[in-house]
Assembly symmetry: C2
């Protein structure tokens, strides 16, 4: 049975603006190393699964930029969704692509993310192998969960149940939506909850069966999509896809299914959700600053100073504390570090001003 | 008797970096209006004294930039000091220039500043007229003093004595160096002290006599400098000037002289000493920001955001409080508003890094 990787690479480029843009979202940035995040994601999984079976599902606007950015991936593996739906339709499409390519044979499918930091590639591959083997052997829907390090209210949680007979794989009691702070604190203290990482592992036939059972308005489209892809009937495929509902794989399938299992991650993980994440994964200078590009700081602490304007521009600070400064050729952004998640409010404001030239 | 204006326009361009530079110091910037500060200074005094008798004393490096910037001023009126000394030698030179032009006739001399904010030009001209008339009539050394609005420790103070018979002109008891905070508070509370504005009024013969009496190492050079200027002996003039000591007019002449008088200013004044000064003299937006150029602010208060990069660049902020952001094509500077006086530390740091390209 062949194994495929599906990397969901949409993203609107709001949280890392002005470095990220509509046509250059986070996964196309080199935020955590000198490589683009999606390159890192591909390089990380390549020892397990060859490039020919790595599929990138993205939007029409990002398809060509991704093809250009990833010469090692066959261009026909970079697939544009005909419309922006949500993760359940996206993965039904990916499932259909694999089924069309495998001509009816069952296949293994690892759904990975394009824009997260993963601190130990060996541990990651070991966890992925464990999840894939379990999904293959037990016909299960498997996810990787991240042991929480703080009472984060921005993520979904997974209530981890009894261990299975396979080391490192547990039953899932329940998926939980984003909690309030008190509930998040209870979850973290209990030691029985992990963060929902958005990584999933299943056989294509297992996903199809689960979707047809618990989310038939999506699942029932898979056979038709598979046929459309096999016969290259793009027009019909697009029409079918447009009709699918906007629903997530978590809410639409995982929460409603039985035989759902979780592999608690053994690797460091960060969702790199906003500029302040850089200080968790980039080297700091003597006064706890992250500094990138031509930068001169004086008496500056705990700040993130990114000069992406080029070597003909110098970014300087004095007396600064806990501030983010990002400079590009056409836009500058400054905010307190603890307001980094509000950078998208600038993007919203620029959109209302019709400043699409810098979005 | 002809009246002359002498505007001292040196300045190293450190406090308003990165907008100000070595070759473009504060007086060449449009900080307080749409005109350069030195243009404002000239326009303000022009109703009293014609351009032909307005002299600009500056450094060799700024001479040509000032000639270019001020087409209304005869180029021979923009005079470069042969060396960087201090205000006493500078004004001895100015005195000599006027004496050479007036061929031995006495003249009135108003020494004004190039880079201060003056809020009411009519009141300013009334005070200048009062000072010039007093200096002319009573053979006095006259200064304009600024009634203090805060216990500033960065300025010298003047102890105001008894009023003279002329309304608005008082005797000076004593010049005081920059005080500590407690002393400054005492000065302000007493109502008997004004800030030293750096504006002076005297007859050329009165200045020459005072200098020869209390600062002969400078005063004795005036006759020679006058001859050198009359005969265009630039080489000898330069040699004489180089030999003069580095001493201020305040310390070298005003503090040591008798017959010194002060006109307390009746106009709003600000020395525009650093970026934070802008909020005292520029219109504020609804959340107390000073915003200049293409700028988008979200939930930002009490900040000074200057985009001098041009219209192809947008400066944005979110959640910012009391911060200065200045962006130019080749340099960006960010600092807390209450650290604006430390911008010169960035300049010092860049100098140690040999970044003269952006100084």
């Amino acid at each position: 049975m062949n194994s495929y990787v599906v990397i969901m690479a949409g993203g609107s480029g709001e949280r890392f603006w002005p470095l990220s843009r509509m046509r250059k979202p986070k996964q196309l940035l080199a935020l955590t190393s000198s490589s683009m995040m999606i390159e890192e994601a591909i390089d990380r999984i390549s020892p397990l699964i060859p490039h020919e079976r790595i599929l990138i599902i993205t939007s029409e606007v990002l398809q060509q930029p991704l093809i250009d950015a990833l010469p090692g991936i066959p261009s026909e593996n970079v697939i544009a969704e005909p419309a922006k739906r949500n993760t359940a339709p996206c993965l039904a499409l990916a499932c259909s692509v694999i089924r069309a390519r495998e001509a009816g044979n069952d296949a293994l499918m690892a759904v990975l993310t394009a824009d997260h930091f993963i601190g130990n590639a060996d541990a990651f591959r070991a966890d992925v192998s464990r999840a894939l083997t379990f999904a293959s052997t037990y016909d299960a829907l498997v996810t990787i969960g991240i042991p929480p390090t703080r009472p984060e209210t921005g993520y979904g949680y997974i209530h981890v149940g009894e261990p299975t007979v396979v080391p490192g794989v547990s039953h899932v009691v329940e998926f939980k939506e984003k909690p309030d702070v008190a509930t998040a604190l209870d979850y973290v203290r209990s030691g029985r909850y992990v963060w929902n990482s958005g990584m999933f592992f299943w056989r294509t036939e297992a996903l199809r069966a689960a979707m047809m059972s618990v989310l038939p308005e999506v699942g029932n489209a898979i056979d038709g999509l598979t046929d459309d892809l096999a016969t290259q009937n793009a027009q019909h495929m697009s029409a079918v896809f447009h009709a699918l509902p906007d629903i997530s794989i978590d809410y639409g399938v995982m929460e409603r299914s039985h035989n759902v299992h979780v592999v608690p991650a053994t690797f460091p993980w960060d969702d790199v959700g906003s500029w302040d994440a850089l200080e968790r994964m980039r080297p700091l200078d003597a006064t706890q600053n992250v500094v990138d590009g031509v930068v001169t700081v004086v008496d500056t602490e705990g700040s993130i100073i990114v000069n992406a304007h080029g070597s003909a521009h110098t970014v300087t600070t004095v007396g600064l504390r806990d501030t983010v400064v990002v400079v590009t050729p056409d836009a500058t952004m400054v905010c307190p570090k603890d307001r980094a998640q509000d950078v998208k409010r600038i993007v919203t404001e620029l959109r209302t001003k019709d400043r699409h030239d810098i979005l």
